[in-house]
């Protein structure tokens, strides 16, 4: 597993939640949106264990419904619990990302 994959694993839940917060999506759309956001080496399949876990925790709700064209899709939307969890996660992330970025940048200027 690459360093990047390992780093991502911890924050993927938050990334998925933040996409679902904007609009309800189904799996393939979600993976497309993650790639569009620049996370293009998240293997597409990894979102499904994440989606199952988020459903089990009650953060998202999945609903199978027919799409306008083609097969039935399972659309995911955020629950109130999910909204609260995402808020907490975003706060935690800001607390980590700021200091880590500063540390990494300081490393460069000192060299």
């Amino acid at each position: 597993m690459s360093v990047r994959t390992q780093l991502l694993k911890g924050v993927l839940d938050g990334c998925v939640l933040s996409i679902i917060e904007k609009e309800s999506v189904y799996g393939y759309e979600l993976s497309k949106k993650l790639q569009l956001a620049g996370l293009n080496d998240v293997s597409e399949g990894t979102i499904y264990p994440v989606l199952l876990r988020l459903q089990k925790n009650g953060y998202i709700r999945g609903e199978m419904r027919p799409s306008e064209s083609g097969p039935d899709r399972k659309y995911y939307s955020l629950t109130d619990d999910g909204r609260a969890a995402l808020k907490a996660l975003a706060l935690e992330w800001a607390n980590i990302a700021g200091p880590v970025t500063t540390l990494m940048q300081r490393r460069h200027t000192n060299d």
């Binding site: 189904y26 293997s43 597409e44 264990p49």
Partner: protein, 225 residues
Amino acid sequence: MISSKQLISENNERRKLLTKENEKYYDDMLVYIRLKAKSSDQESEEVLMELLNHLIDGQQDGKTAADIFGDDPKGYADELISELPKAHLRTRLPFLSYLLINLISIFLLVRGAALFIGGFFKPVDATVFIVKSTLITVYWLLAIAFLIWFILHLVENALFKKVSNWKDVLKAGLVGIISFGLGTALLYLIPNFGPSFSFGWLPSLVSGAILWLISFWTKKKFNLF
């Protein structure tokens, strides 16, 4: 909500859209998850449908199953299974009781028919020794449960492999013969002793028929399959 039955038939239809290579990859995952997931059918069928739709969409963009789900299908399926919620034993109870009642009813029907037909040729002994019969019934239930578990275990191990294994077929056959032989041997090995009663062909047939109707009703009532 779309029922698990509908999802299964839709899955069967849509799988035809897969390329040969992707179908092999997906089929192994499908059988493995259906066998191993302890979740409700609804939950496992929904995720199986999502994976299939994703694979079909990806296929149109020129991706293979390995591109999407990784090079380790078994590991990926295990990851999914570990995230699926586990169903309570209570939800499986109707199916397990259906199986038990159906098995016993068939045994009683066959026994009744055999006693009836056998009676034309020679005098038959319809005596049932309670202790002996209980032991043998318990043996058969355990043996059948073990056989099912053993064969499912072999199937799980055979999935995701390139070559089919004739040794597995031999193993399954051997275990089947041994458990059947042991069951037959028990008939002679356990002596007739203790309390007994006569249970002729007619009561055997009638009780078998009643139990069969009950199992049929259970199946309809709980919409088992």
